[in-house]
Amino acid sequence: MDSPLIELKHVYKSYEQDLTVLEDINLRIGKGEFVFINGPSGAGKTTLLKVILCIERSTKGEVWVDGINLKRLSNSKIPYLRRRMGMVFQDFKLIENLTVFENVALSMEVCGIKKSVIEQRVDQVLKSLGLEIKKRIYPRRLSGGEQQRVAVARAVVNDPLVLLADEPTGNLDAGRAADIMSLFNEISARGTTVIFATHNQELIRSTAKRVIILDQGRIVN
């Protein structure tokens, strides 16, 4: 791996003196790679993703994303970094009073993209995810699987460099989880780097992707 897209060097994250959530994390993830972050609840998977997305700052160590040292990134520049990354959450984080279309369009609106471009692109993404006929519907009227697909649509609509997913199948049954999994495989096949955090061993066993195992804040494999 010549120049990794994401690199963590001796990264620590602690909240109080006694509460260390990440400990000496060293990690390199290349462009277009699909990586699973696996580990039990409380292992530090979510915190690791938060550190990469700059929701949390590391206490010690360096985090590099596409050549940017996050330690040196000012707060005002963080939104611009996040626009180059997509994030999918276990609880979807859809906005209840916005339609499916508006939820997905939000990622582009914050970038100030023209309305006509947004309409075209959002329609295209919703179509590719089989959500075209649901675009005027509000999230509460969708099934869990559909809501997660909307969340994925919102995360990929800006063609991000990297897609981060935090237990995206955690609230779904096995059938829906498999659908979402194949969706991530498709996105990865198009060249997007995918970091997929899950505690679901079944899901990992069904693929032959690179797996990073976290336990009590440390990488153990």
Partner: protein
């Protein structure tokens, strides 16, 4: 690329979603601005009244009857040299008597038995434009009093000073109400914003996660604040104008101010109050967001 086309519709959709709270805020602002405006209006008109009457001030100095007539010219020259004196006129005892006769045309009996020279001769002094301020007239009066040949100085100070004191007091009240307006607006607007933030915290969190800048998140709140300021102060000015028009027809001004015609606040003052309310509400909104926007 600009986010402004997205901020404006978002502002209105936010306000629709939180109608009651925004209405209450706008009405509270309207109420406080109305009180502030009323106080400003009273101060403004009292000040005008005092100014008008100050311009008509004539200082009257009574000349010592023992002063030889040939010294009066010398006295006039001395008075003319004093700072603030624009013009003087010597009114002899006879002229003074003739004036009284004209004033009491219908009741000539009052003057019966009084000789034409029973009044002392006087010097009527007009002051320059810069002397209308009472604070500046007082030193001139002291100088006049100290001149030999002048027995007394009269300038109707009591009622003019009372008018000025009333205007000054109203100004104090206006400042106090202005302070109250400031505090109430800060409290009400910031609480409305905080309530909205609380109700929409998940939405705002999601916006941050998809890369919204602080400007994009804060924009609709600041615009909401500006609209609240505009609606609240606009309503207050309309209500104040209606109240003013109503009172003008109802109140009978007593005595010497019978001919004074009160006027409404000038356009620049009304514009200033509205603009000030808008700026204040927008600033409070922006500051209320600060805590939330810390990454």
């Amino acid at each position: 690329m600009s986010v402004i086309p997205y901020i404006i519709p978002r502002t209105f959709s936010n306000m629709r979603g939180n109608r009651l709270s925004h209405l209450m805020t706008a009405l509270t602002i309207a109420f406080v601005v109305l009180i502030f405006g009323l106080s400003t209006l009273i101060y403004f008109n009292l000040h005008r009244l005092a100014e008008n009457y100050s311009r008509e001030i004539r200082i009257v100095t009574y000349i010592d009857p023992a002063l030889p007539p040939e010294d009066i010219e010398g006295l006039k020259a001395k008075v003319l040299k004093l700072r603030g004196v624009a013009n003087i006129r010597h009114v002899t005892s006879q002229e003074g008597y003739q004036r009284l006769v004209q004033q009491f045309q219908d009741e000539k009996d009052i003057l019966a038995g009084l000789g034409e020279d029973f009044l002392p001769s006087t010097l009527e002094i007009e002051v320059t434009g810069t002397m209308y301020n009472m604070g500046r007239i007082r030193p001139l009066v002291s100088e006049l009093t100290s001149l030999p040949g002048i027995t007394d100085v009269y300038y109707g100070k009591e009622w003019v000073e009372r008018l000025r004191q009333a205007a000054d007091f109203t100004r104090l009240i206006t400042f106090a109400i202005g302070g109250l307006f400031l505090l109430t607006t800060i409290f009400v607007v910031s609480n409305t914003i905080k309530l909205t933030i609380y109700l929409r915290r998940n939405e705002l969190e999601t916006m941050r996660l998809v890369g919204a800048t602080n400007f994009f998140i804060r924009g609709p709140f600041v615009l909401e604040g500006m609209l609240q300021g505009l609606v609240g102060s606009g309503l207050a000015m309309l209500a104040l104008f209606a109240l003013f028009e109503f009172l003008k027809t109802q109140v009978n001004f007593p005595g010497f101010i019978r001919f004074f015609s009160p006027i409404f606040l000038p356009i620049p003052v009304v514009t200033g109050i509205i603009a000030g309310s808008i700026i204040l509400c927008a600033t409070v909104s922006a500051f209320s967001m600060r805590q939330f926007l810390r990454v």
